[in-house]
């Protein structure tokens, strides 16, 4: 990051810079997708217009909503375990912010370049389970309790297919480093033809499918939204939350959707890279040119929007599973499929 403008920053300067950028990287895409998909696309799907009054085509609606939430009364139920109740949304949000740290947006544009980046990402993604359990238990509401327990069971069950889906990519790339995975896709070749690189959705399409299904479950979105199932549990673990704390959950939910889409883009769609023959036409240095620190985020954003489109499309189309059907689906279908995928990937890796 510090090399972008060829200026050396002091550690504290770059820390503040990164902190601000982390907020930008989490909140701006979250707001964008909420407006584009949750407000508008879904409205068109459901033959209605969505917000139209606040700003042109309702584009300022989100600000209005945030303002509304921020000024709502701050309610903590009498029987709630106050400290845990208050802390829970922050724990959920922390997991979102930790996730974005390892996502590469360009050759140098990333927050932390861990050697075991994807491992870290999958680890911190389960921190949100703790927050959700905290919220479910501390609310002192039966709906919240059932929702929290459902969420815990579901999130733990779907952690496994998520990890196993990524293993295929890791085997193929030969590294756990996120930047390394992107590089492997950019430098890869399809039967000796390197013009397109080798984005892993060509070879790991089963992995991509499992990853997206597991992400849908991790985010507790339809068809896996039993933890918040409105028609059964009112709003699940979020039932007792209102105002700003609900907003935190809301941001957590939609920002995490984007970050997972970023991860999927990095793992399966070639990350911040564009087809190498275009990059070579643009710059002599190809993907190593410094300009990719600016092009990269835009490319990532585009790929993220593609994936979140699928996420929201599924979310507003399918009815939800029942709890036992969800577990059956994870343990009897997704996990065996992921294991087969890993085995086949391993064999092919040795063969080629």
């Amino acid at each position: 990051m510090s090399a972008v403008f060829a200026v050396e920053f002091a550690f504290w300067q770059s820390t503040i810079f990164k902190l601000l950028l982390a907020f930008v990287a989490v909140l701006i895409p979250a707001g964008g997708t909420v407006y584009m998909y949750l407000f508008k696309m879904v409205s068109f799907m459901q033959s209605r217009l969505g917000p139209m009054e606040a700003g042109p085509y309702g584009s300022m609606q989100l600000l209005a909503e945030v303002g509304k939430w921020a000024q709502k009364e701050d309610i903590v139920p009498t029987n709630a375990d106050r400290r845990v109740f208050v802390a829970a949304p922050y724990v959920v949000l922390i997991s979102t912010f930790l996730l974005v740290l390892v996502v590469p947006f360009g050759p140098d544009a990333m927050f932390v370049n861990f050697d075991t980046g994807i491992f870290f990402a999958l680890g911190v993604s389960s921190v949100s389970v703790i927050g959700i359990l905290m919220a479910g238990w501390a609310s002192a509401s039966k709906y919240s309790l059932i929702g929290g327990l459902r969420a815990a069971g579901q999130l733990i069950a779907y952690e496994l297919p998520l990890v196993l889906a990524v293993v295929g990519v890791v085997v193929q790339a030969g590294t756990l480093n996120m930047q390394g995975i992107v590089r492997a896709q950019i430098d890869g070749e399809i039967f000796g033809f390197g013009g397109l690189g080798n984005p892993y959705f060509f070879t790991q399409f089963i992995g991509l499918f499992i990853f997206l299904v597991a992400v849908q479950a991790e985010l507790a979105q339809s068809p896996f939204d039993m933890p918040i199932a409105e028609s059964e549990l009112v709003s699940g673990y979020m039932t007792e939350y209102s105002g700003f704390r609900f907003l935190l959950f809301f941001i957590g939910e939609f920002a995490t959707a984007n970050i997972f889409a970023f991860l999927a883009a990095t793992l399966f769609l070639g990350g911040w890279g564009i087809p190498p023959f275009i990059a070579d036409l643009m710059f002599e240095a190809g993907h190593d040119h410094w300009a990719f620190n600016l092009i990269g985020p835009a490319v990532m954003l585009t790929k993220m929007l593609l994936i979140t489109f699928v996420i929201y499309w599924v979310r507003f189309t399918y009815p939800r599973f029942r709890e036992d059907q969800l577990q059956t689906f994870a343990w009897k279908f997704l996990i065996p499929l992921a294991l087969v995928n890993i085995a086949v990937t391993g064999v092919l890796k040795v063969v080629f």
Binding site: V42, M45, Q46, S47, R48, T78, N79, A140, K142, Y143, I146, S222, P223, D225, M226, A229, E230, S231, E232, L233, V234, F316, T317, Y318, P319, R320, F321, R322, E323, D324, Q325
Partner: protein
Amino acid sequence: MTAVNDRRQMAYIAAQAADARVNLELEAEGMTLNIGPQHPATHGTLRLVVQLDGEQVIHADPVMGYMHRGYEKLTEVRTYPQVTTLINRIDWLGSFANEVPFILAAEQLMGIEAPPRAQWIRTILFELARIANVTLFLGDMGVQLGAVSPVFYAFRDREYILNQIESATGGRFHPNFDRIGGIKDDLPAGWIAETKSALKEIRDFCDEMEDLIVGNEIYEARTRGIGIIPADVGLSYGLTGANIRASGVDWDVRRDNPVGLAYDQVDWKVWTHPDGDSFARYWVRLQETRESCHIVEQLLDGLPAGPIMTKVPRIIKVPEGEAYIETENPLGVMGYYIVSQGGLEPFRVKIRSASFSNISITPWLLKGTYVPDVITILASLYFILGDIDR
């Protein structure tokens, strides 16, 4: 200072009491969950007290009466023509269907009969009310199971029918159109062609729902084998309408006892399903909506000419006597038992509404099911709160 201390002490006592309550509940077997009176799944104020063991229902107890408006009593201080305004609000999604059995019972007591054209228009509006009602169910079932979009399509396409009801009667939701001895007005010009195109939209909607909901694997997994009502149990609980036809009982008042309505003049079929589960109830209602379109189209084609009102006195006095008329309403069999002692008002009216009987099976049906299935079963039984509580 003392006030602060007092408040602290109060808070402490309250916290202790809350802890004790929680502990008591944790120690007791299972947990009592209050679904309702205000809950997103009950679209109204039905309260369901459910004893849970984990997520399994040990015992479910529907508590009714949160919306009781005392219609049976109120009818006793209304004149006969005034009653229809009131009873429009019983099943508010298919309002016109509520008026018909009452009017028919009053006509029977007075010994008059509406002219054929009025009967046919009554039947048409009756079926349109059924379509408007059941259309919403067809979309709402999706929303209860977590698919948000279908209910918006239902609201969109129901509007075609409501527009037709409005242009014929003047009331979109509460027509108040049926009169003793006939109907209020004749159909407006061009109404028949418009209605036919509206019915086409409803047929498209049914196809869409068949694709979107019936054809969905998750939907099928959620509803097949859930909430099975055997025919004998259903009959002993007084289930009627599509709920009992989905259990394989071939019984439809429209066909078996069409008093004062033109159902015997057209060619149609009663749909049944042998399974008796939630899927069957949805499927039967879907087929019935198509069948209703079929009925209305035939009625529109064969609409007889003639007067729409028979000769009735200016001030309606119903002679002494008793009459019970039931019709096949959107939610099931609805009947009015009218006792008249002569005079302007009925002496006593007993309203047999379908949802009240349909919901009474829930304690039997919900035993041993899981919380998500509770919602599926309630949604598939399809009740309307106004119809339960009256």
